[in-house]
Assembly symmetry: C2
Homo-oligomer: 449 residues x 2
């Protein structure tokens, strides 16, 4: 693998002008995903030359595979006529995704030049929320009348299948276009010639989703049942499209990225390839939120300025309490957010999970506090200070556990993403309360006496 | 969706004894993944009753779908004869995965009672590293001699396919069992009867991996090319098995969980369903590491105890510096770890990514520092203190950006997981240096004069 990667980058270098003509011919035999990677490395003029030299369908597939930011830039610089030619060669769901990324006027300009029938389908797909089944489904599917026989069906497939993106299943519909069954190509291959499709699908337990189901839920169903795809229907059970395993792989990647990045207040779709100014726009607001939050902790410390002036060692130990509890909380938070990403928690399991984290926090807290007790006593010789430190640590680690498990649940209850800025909220709590426990106990037991 | 979930839990309650006999009959029509969920809710005796009432193949599929901890517990409590009966009904790759989870003596005990041929295959699969292609591949695949014709192939498939787990592709091999091509069921369905398979596959660009390729790399290939599966070969190109899209969906989920949980020092495979003592064993060592790390920061503060005694407000502001820089660093860290999960970074791109984060940190740092400057000046009226705060903040946010981008790269260079405890290492740096910058500057400009 390593070696072929090197080879790739070698060829990439060869690809830059003046030799781009020759390379353009070679590129056509590659997978669109690879061509997309190469296109991303090139300047606009060279991208244009490569795209012009390719068959229109291949060019469209390659552009559809490019990174979001890269393809937006490319399409916005292309003249609308050329862009429309590319877009009309794409599968309608890719076309809809891409046009949604462009500025409205630009998208409309391009859509106006796409052949009418394609444009109508793309426009239709653009009406679905991108975070739902409708927003990610493919519409180029094999649909068969359930009253056909197996051999008639194979005949239909032989003539129709070539331009369909999802060639592993055929979907059966009745006269009202309602979904009634699913057959794999294998089923058709093995069926006796005269058998009716509706009879072949008779005892199926058919799983489908309506167009407005959250895409994360769709991903969950497909990964739970190892489906290749799941049909999407409207409220009257009419077949609209199919979400396939490869869409789901993308969704899972994207959701994992969203969770991890949102947790700390980075943009949910940032990558190393996003413009850096985009990252600033996404992160800066959360840094301000974090600043306001840490002002709360600072205020708590401010309340005890007198104690600190009297006993500066408090300022030495106080960050340790907050830090340790913050880490404890983040461990709980990480497990909780991942759990909510791969599994649905019912009410009972939520309580179970919170209680579980508190138990873990308690035991870990006791271990850590005892060590802190010994260490502080050995280093300072002050028994009472050591006790205050250990008690504050234990209390704050419990706060961390409770907050780490609870914050994502509360965010979800409020209708927000369970990950959103959860780490920021968590440290606000562990910092403020950590300082409060430690400095408060110190004031009562060390300073006041 | 929501409704059917409720229904499920309804039925679950009905399932508990004394009515479990009736429910056991109903359960057989469900998907193994659903049965697994139900089994997990039951006590051992009831699990046993359900399993005994099911067809052996269905029971095996359902047990294979159970959570790791749950199925380990079940198999360790089953008598070995019964466990062996279940295991020999599983697909060999599932059987190997499950036996690897058991204690050695237990696994051997069960393997000794599995029919010889199955046992040999399972034992063979157990020799592969679970993190590699060999460790996740399926071996029940359709293999065809490349010298067959399309109609002969269909005949072979009709008689052989029924017990194969991967029925969408057939793999072509030559007389030496070397992989020479891949055909989909669709290809076979559409082929002229007399055409030779080797001719059908003639112009294919065949992508395969050797058994020792990292599973994350396999997932990367499958998701990049939207493959349904990727064949696994030995060094002589002989076909060993296939990794399929549903394995990849699991891998992507697991890797995302690993990254997020390792980042903060939680166990890479912890879930809400892991025994809580397991979580303690996984997390406690990292809490100790965190404690040692935060002792470094405490030591830095200790160096400036004199200054703090003189000017307790330093203790109020100092956590804000560290916290803000920590958050900045975690934003960079999250984007970097996700990038490394979905994409391979070459040397050039690594430098680009680090430089990009520094730019973002610089701009965000300037904004945040200016606000801090104004806020501290307005609240305290001390211009010099405000300047010290702002300068320390800017410097520490730059440290955070550099560390957030750099730590995963350094960990990888050292051959470690890029995520492992990265958040802990990060806050060590931002805390220690944040305190150092702030208290150091304060000592020079505020105390010493």
């Amino acid at each position: 693998m390593q070696e072929s990667e090197h080879q790739d980058s070698q060829e990439q270098r060869d690809l830059t002008p003046p030799s781009s003509e020759g390379a353009a011919r070679a590129i056509e035999e590659e997978h669109p995903a690879d061509i997309a990677l190469r296109l991303e490395e090139l300047e606009f003029e060279d991208q244009l030359r490569i795209i012009r030299s390719m068959a229109p369908g291949d060019a469209a597939d390659s552009v559809a595979e490019m990174e979001r930011h890269e393809r937006v830039e490319l399409l916005e610089r292309l003249d609308p006529r050329h862009a429309a030619a590319l877009v009309s060669e794409m599968s309608p769901d890719d076309a809809a995704d891409i046009l949604e990324e462009l500025k409205d006027e630009h998208a409309l300009n391009i859509l106006g030049r796409v052949p009418k029938e394609d444009a109508a389908e793309i426009r239709n797909l653009m009406t679905y929320d991108p975070d739902t089944a409708g927003g990610v489904m493919n519409t180029e599917i094999v649909i068969l009348d359930e009253r056909l026989t197996a051999d008639q069906a194979i005949q239909v497939i032989r003539t129709e299948i070539k331009d369909k993106e999802v060639p592993y299943y055929a979907y059966l519909v009745d006269a009202q276009e309602r979904l009634t069954g699913v057959l794999s190509m294998r089923d058709l291959l093995l069926a006796p010639a005269g058998e009716m499709l509706m009879d072949m699908a008779k005892n199926q337990v058919l799983v489908s989703v309506t167009f407005d189901v959250d895409r994360e839920e769709v991903a969950h169903l497909i990964s739970k049942y190892s489906f290749l795809g799941i049909p999407v229907v409207d409220y009257e059970d009419r077949l609209l499209g199919v979400v396939t395993y490869d869409d789901v792989i993308d969704i899972i990647h994207e959701e994992a990225t969203e969770d991890m990045q949102k947790m700390v207040g980075a943009g949910s779709d940032e990558t190393v390839d996003s413009p850096w100014t985009y990252s600033i726009r996404k992160r800066l607001p959360w840094l301000f939120v974090n600043m306001l939050n840490s002002a709360v902790a600072a205020y708590v410390v401010h309340l005890f300025e007198g104690s600190i002036a009297e006993m500066a060692i408090l300022a030495v130990l106080m960050p340790m309490v907050a830090n340790q509890a913050g880490n404890t909380g983040q461990q709980a938070l990480a497990v909780m957010i991942r759990q909510m990403a791969v599994d649905k928690l019912d009410r009972k399991k939520c309580w179970y999970a919170v209680f579980r984290e508190i138990k873990i926090g308690l035991v870990n807290g006791i271990f850590v506090s005892l060590i802190a007790l010994a260490a502080v006593f050995l280093l300072t010789g002050k028994g009472l200070l050591a006790c205050v430190m250990a008690t504050a640590l234990l209390l704050d680690m419990l706060v961390g556990s409770l907050a780490g498990a609870g914050i994502p649940l509360i965010l979800k209850k409020l209708g927000r993403d369970p990950a959103q800025a959860s780490s920021i909220f968590l440290t606000t709590l562990t910092d403020s309360l950590g300082f409060f426990f430690f400095l408060g106990l110190a004031q009562v037991f060390l300073i006041a006496r």
